[in-house]
């Protein structure tokens, strides 16, 4: 079937859940971009007079943390980094996975066998171990987190694309192109990948939340973003380290809450996309 993003999005938005998810994500994204700039606080400077202020006091909407930094600004700064890393990592995963899977399926035979067993081997090692190893070796930085997540997360996309490729390459339109003497790369980019767009989109949509979550986990463990830069993971980590959950619950729960609703919204959207594309086939 013809795949067009426009009709797919239209189908997805027929669901109220998907609407809710999309609205929440858009709000979070807009806030992440705009909020820190419009706030009178900067999120970095310490203020010993206002430590652990409760939310909605003295203009601190989300309260303050153990150094008196404004949590409202820090949460949105964290959102920037968390979302950016999540999306970037998912896109890189998509590119690697698509090319790898496409090549594996197109070449077939022994090449396919070897490539897929390699991917299986990578898949069988728990991601977190690899990521921890890579970030430990490369040091804490945005770059190393993205790299670590990209290296481990592409296998599922690769499998999906390979499966599609195996099916598509037996189709007559590929044979017709071969009858014109088309090369492998032409076939891959002109005929096979355009017909995988739906599947690729779905795996991208589902990779974003897992990358966001993986980044948060890493930062929480202290392997991700280095303070004073903030991501949602580091915020939880700091709250966990310096505050008492009984007395200052908001320091921990606010970033956790945003992690949770972002994950839920992204997963809902991803599932709705999947449904929309499945129902078409």
């Amino acid at each position: 079937m013809l795949f067009s993003i426009k009709t797919t999005v239209r189908t997805v938005l027929k669901s109220k859940l998907a609407w809710a998810g999309a609205v929440i994500l858009i709000v979070i994204a807009v806030m992440a971009i705009a909020a820190p700039a419009f706030s009178p606080f900067d999120g970095y400077s310490h203020d010993t007079d206002s430590i652990f202020l409760k939310p909605m006091s003295k203009g601190h909407w989300f309260g303050t943390d153990e150094f008196g930094r404004d949590l409202f600004v820090r949460v949105w700064q964290g959102a920037r980094i968390s979302l950016a890393i999540g999306i970037l990592a998912a896109i890189i995963q998509m590119v690697i996975g698509t090319l790898y899977g496409g090549m594996s399926g197109l070449f077939g035979g022994t090449v396919d066998e070897v490539m897929m067993r390699l991917a299986d081997a990578l898949y069988s090692i728990p991601d977190l171990i690899l990521v921890v190893l890579i970030t430990m070796a490369m040091g804490n930085s945005c770059f190393s987190v993205i790299l670590a997540l990209s290296v481990t997360g592409w296998t599922s996309t690769a499998r999906v694309v390979r499966g599609q490729t195996l099916m598509l390459k037996e189709m007559d339109f590929v044979r017709a192109a071969k009858a014109f003497g088309a090369g492998r790369w032409y076939i891959m980019f002109k005929h096979i990948l355009p017909n995988c767009r739906g599947q690729i989109l779905v795996s991208l949509m589902l990779n974003v939340p897992s990358a966001v979550f993986a980044e948060s986990t890493l930062s929480f463990l202290g392997l991700g973003i280095k303070p004073p830069d903030a991501s949602w993971g580091t915020l939880v980590n700091e709250g966990f380290k310096y505050s008492n959950i009984t007395y200052h619950p908001w320091v921990i729960f606010l970033p956790l809450f945003f992690i949770a609703i972002t994950m839920i919204s992204l997963n809902i959207l991803g599932d709705e996309f999947k449904k929309a594309l499945d129902s078409k086939h």
Binding site: A179, F180, A182
Partner: protein, 569 residues
């Protein structure tokens, strides 16, 4: 011999215009007389006159027609109805318009028996059943229960013939009974009429425009032109030395048609030498192609006939270089195709399923232009111009180019497939069952298009199909494939009218009986146990000899271009 029909100085005119002019002719008992003439020559009017269907109120009738020594024109209408159907039967050109579409065959077929011989319905049905069985219709019960539209043209025509001969008439007039039917069924109907004449001693007047067809059936031929009999005599005599211009013209028309069909061959374009393609699946080796050798001549249409799984699609994929064979060679004008650089410009292919053969994400323009994109890379304007021209050539409007494949009908899509193949101006076009997903009308249009293109740009076709009817209509030569081997190859007429290999014979028989052989064969051809030994057909063959089980037969020449691979010849 007794003369059954005598026409004496018969003239017929309508409003002063002469339709038939001074006809003198006679038919004796048991004789088959062919009346040959082009359309408008008055041959059908003659037939109608014999039946007394031309009312004297409208037509101006002179002369006499004696049937059984009684003048048809002087008989009262009441007597005439007794003769029509009982003594003279008439078979028309288009059986489906002759039969009443809302009445089951049973009541239509038994009508003459019921009416003329006063046999009651049940008895008549039984008689008819036996009769149908004699005429090679299997399952006459089912046949009687069906409505005319559920039957194919050939089957319906057979029913009409049965109906007309059920009262054992003395004369049957067949007015172009086979012109709407394909070659193979045509042949079977002719045989049927011939057998009837011999068995029941019925005389037949066979009206046709095809002199060669007349030669196949008739003893004597009368050539009619502009209402006049210009020549009459023994069929072979007339065919060999036509005495008048009109006959010569008719003969030329037939031969010209033939010549066009058979084409000028001899220059070998493609040579396939001992091609083998083996697929391994586990421990089994599937021999999709097991030593195929073929030559394709320039400008011909070579039909490849075989059931699904016989390797015909594999063969087509190797010829188009989509797959590499396990062993063997394909030579184009003497060069191995895998070493020709621009081979894609020479050979192109049309696929069976027009849905899977087009990328659903691409617009028609991009699909058709694919060959240009890959092979040449032209500017945008030139590309669009080429695409529009190609679409026009296959009978599509240029507005179609901005659409997606799923927005077109099956027939349109298949035309797009042809346009895509034609854009590089190939010399050879391989058609892999291009019509099997289409309804009969689109099928006909598609075949006409193939023929039109062939005449326009001198294409050579390799036409792969399981439908022998299609091949009977369009191919010059036919190669019959069975389990990866070619079992018989020859010109169309040799294969259709004189099949030698038992497998070919069965296919042709099935097609004559209007059965779908291949549907049955699916569950009875599993003989994978014997994949390589002996003749692959021996398990199903009725005349298996010991040799068949052990040695695989080679293709041997019978005569001319007719080759067969069978030990029994």
């Amino acid at each position: 011999m007794d003369t059954i029909l005598r026409i004496k100085d018969f003239s017929l005119s309508f409003k002063g215009k002469k339709i038939l002019d001074n006809i003198n002719m006679s038919v004796s008992k048991g004789e088959i007389l062919a009346v040959v003439g082009e359309s408008g020559s008055g041959k059908s009017m003659l037939a109608r006159s014999v039946l007394g269907l031309n009312s004297p109120d409208v037509f101006d009738i002179k002369g006499k027609i004696f049937f059984d020594d009684r003048d048809i024109n002087s008989l009262p209408e009441k007597e005439l109805t007794k003769i029509r159907g009982a003594k003279i039967g008439m078979v028309f050109q288009e059986p489906l318009s002759y039969l009443n579409p809302v009445i089951k065959m049973a009541s239509q077929l038994t009508e003459p028996l019921n009416k003329h011989k006063k046999i009651n319905k049940r008895k008549a049905a039984q008689l008819m059943e036996d009769f149908l069985r004699k005429l090679n219709i299997n399952d006459p019960l089912q046949y009687m229960k069906s409505y005319p539209h559920q039957l194919s043209g050939g089957m319906a025509q057979r029913g009409v013939i049965a109906m007309n001969s059920s009262c054992e008439p003395e004369l049957i007039i067949a007015d172009e009974p086979t012109s709407s039917i394909d070659v193979i069924v045509q042949y079977s109907i002719i045989k049927l009429i011939k057998d009837l004449a011999r068995l029941q001693g019925t005389s037949v007047i066979f009206i046709t425009h095809d002199l060669q067809l007349a030669a196949k059936i008739a003893d004597r031929v009368a050539v009619i032109s502009k209402g006049r009999i210009v020549e009459e005599g023994d069929v072979q005599e007339v065919l060999k030395n036509p005495r008048t211009n009109e006959t010569a013209q008719l003969l030329n028309a037939c031969i010209a048609e033939r010549a066009q069909e058979t084409g000028v061959k001899r220059k070998a374009l493609l040579e396939i030498r001992d091609l083998r393609m083996h697929f391994k699946s586990g421990n089994n080796i599937n021999r999709a192609l097991d030593g195929v050798s073929l030559t394709v001549y320039e400008g011909e249409t070579l039909g490849i006939l075989g059931e699904s799984g016989c390797g015909k699609s594999t063969l087509s994929r190797i010829i188009t270089r989509i797959q590499r064979p396990t062993s063997g060679k394909v030579l184009f004008e003497g060069t191995d195709i895998f070493s020709i650089k621009d081979y894609s410009k020479i050979v192109q292919m049309i696929f069976q399923d027009s849905i899977t053969s087009m990328n659903p994400q691409m617009r028609i323009e991009d699909i058709v232009a694919e060959g240009i994109d890959i092979l040449y890379g032209k500017s945008r304007q030139e590309r669009t111009k080429d695409v529009i021209e190609c679409l026009k050539r296959v009978g599509l409007d240029k507005s179609i180019k901005d659409r997606f494949p799923h927005q077109l009908s099956g027939g349109q899509r298949q035309r797009v497939g042809i346009a895509r193949a034609l854009i590089t101006n190939p010399k050879i076009l391989i058609c892999d069952e291009p019509t099997s997903y289409l309804d009969t009308v689109s099928q006909k249009h598609m075949l006409d298009l193939f023929m039109k293109l062939k005449n326009e740009i001198n294409l050579t076709y390799i036409f792969i199909t399981h439908n022998i009817r299609i091949l009977g209509n369009i191919s010059d030569r036919i190669a019959v494939m069975h389990k990866g081997r070619i079992v018989e190859i020859g010109t169309r007429d040799e294969i259709v009218f004189n099949p030698v290999h038992p497998y070919t014979k069965m296919l042709i028989d099935a097609s004559i009986k209007d059965e779908d052989y291949f549907a049955e064969s699916l569950f009875q051809t599993d003989d994978s146990a014997c994949n390589s030994c002996g003749c692959k057909y021996h398990a199903l063959c009725k005349r298996t000899a010991e040799k068949c089980r052990q040695e695989s037969p080679a293709l041997i020449n019978i005569e001319g271009e007719h080759f067969v691979a069978c030990h029994l010849f």
